[in-house]
């Protein structure tokens, strides 16, 4: 019994240390297609959540977002300068406009609503512009 109590106590201590070491969770988050994988963003892709464009766009819900990040891979291919076959616009949108930065490279990018001159409630978005794009997008608020 004593050994069991010691084991449980040790487990509790490890769990407490692990919990303290974890970074504080963001107040809100959004990921596409998931928070741990990539999806193909094409001309007909949609999250069907009322994005600025009815197709060729994935977007979050309205929130006071801190930033949006996107990781774009070489799939299905890159040249020697990491230029992919696809082009996307990543950024934010509101009821009046959509704003963002274009990229055709395999890269990791981040941008904030304030950089795009937007404030208040916005939706994080990644919009297809050309070709095939394998991306993971995430926003934190």
């Amino acid at each position: 019994m004593k050994r069991f109590v010691l084991f449980v106590t040790a487990c509790a201590c490890v769990a407490a240390v692990a919990a303290l070491a974890r970074p504080a969770a963001a107040s809100a988050s959004w990921c596409w297609p998931s928070c741990g994988g990539y999806g193909l963003l094409g001309q007909w892709t949609s999250t069907y959540t009322g994005c600025w464009f009815s197709s060729g766009e994935v977007c979050s819900y309205y929130n006071g977002w801190f930033n949006v990040g996107m990781a774009k891979t070489c799939y299905p291919g890159c040249d020697w300068n990491y230029r992919t076959t696809g082009v996307v616009l990543y950024g934010f949108e509101n009821h009046d406009r959509i704003r963002g930065v274009f990229t055709d490279r395999a890269e990791t990018v981040y941008t904030r609503p304030s950089y795009l001159g937007l404030s208040g409630l916005t939706r994080a978005q990644v919009t297809w512009y050309a070709g095939t794009n394998q991306v993971n997008a995430a926003a934190i608020g």
């Binding site: 600025w52 020697w80 300068n81 230029r83 959509i98 704003r99 930065v101 490279r105 981040y110 795009l116």
Partner: protein, 188 residues
């Protein structure tokens, strides 16, 4: 081992080394002659980036243009990134790109310009703000209309470019030009 076998082995070793060298250097910008001569100032702390995939804590200021600050950044894993932010909050870039291919002769421009769309029925975008980075040898950036006309020419200075009030209307791409005005590269 006879002479013919030795020769065959030697040829295989040479071919393997050549192929290995090609694979190792594939995509490596360091073998490219494109450079950024602007090395920036002293290293400063970077904050305000909650980025899981590219943790950045340090960088240098390459230039300040009007109210914008241009950064060369380094992730904790050593990857090179570039960012731009407002001059009233130095050390807090608002937009960051971590791109392995820049600068290179095939990728002499890293454009962080902001585009805006106001139409739902067409993916037509105009410039909201123009800024970015360019390799040595790029004297200016030209932004085109869909019909190919030049809508805006922005000079490059100290490997950065910036324009606060771009003209209205759709933009379909951009090109890098040298000091003679010759196009040396263009976007897709």
């Amino acid at each position: 081992m006879n002479r013919r076998t030795k020769l065959a082995v030697a040829l295989l070793v040479v071919a393997g080394a050549t192929l290995g060298g090609m694979l190792v250097t594939r995509g490596d910008a360091s073998r490219d002659t494109a450079t950024l001569s602007n090395q920036g100032g002293t290293t400063i702390a970077i904050s305000g980036l909650r980025m899981k995939l590219a943790t950045i804590r340090a960088g240098t200021v390459l230039a300040t243009r009007r109210d914008r600050v241009f950064y060369r950044l380094t992730t904790v894993s050593g990857e090179q990134c570039f960012g731009v932010g407002v001059a009233t909050d130095v050390g807090t870039p608002g937009s960051v790109m971590c791109q392995r291919g820049f600068p290179s002769s095939g990728s002499p421009v890293l454009d962080l310009s902001v585009y805006e769309g106001t139409r739902h029925d067409a993916k037509e975008f105009s410039l909201f703000r123009v800024e970015g980075f360019a390799a040595d040898g790029v004297a200016a950036l030209q932004f085109f209309r869909p019909n190919g006309d030049v809508a805006l020419t922005v000079p490059v200075s100290g490997n950065v470019y910036s324009a606060a009030s771009p003209p209205k209307g759709p933009i379909a791409g951009y090109a890098a030009v040298d000091k003679e005005g010759k196009r040396v590269w263009r976007s897709p």
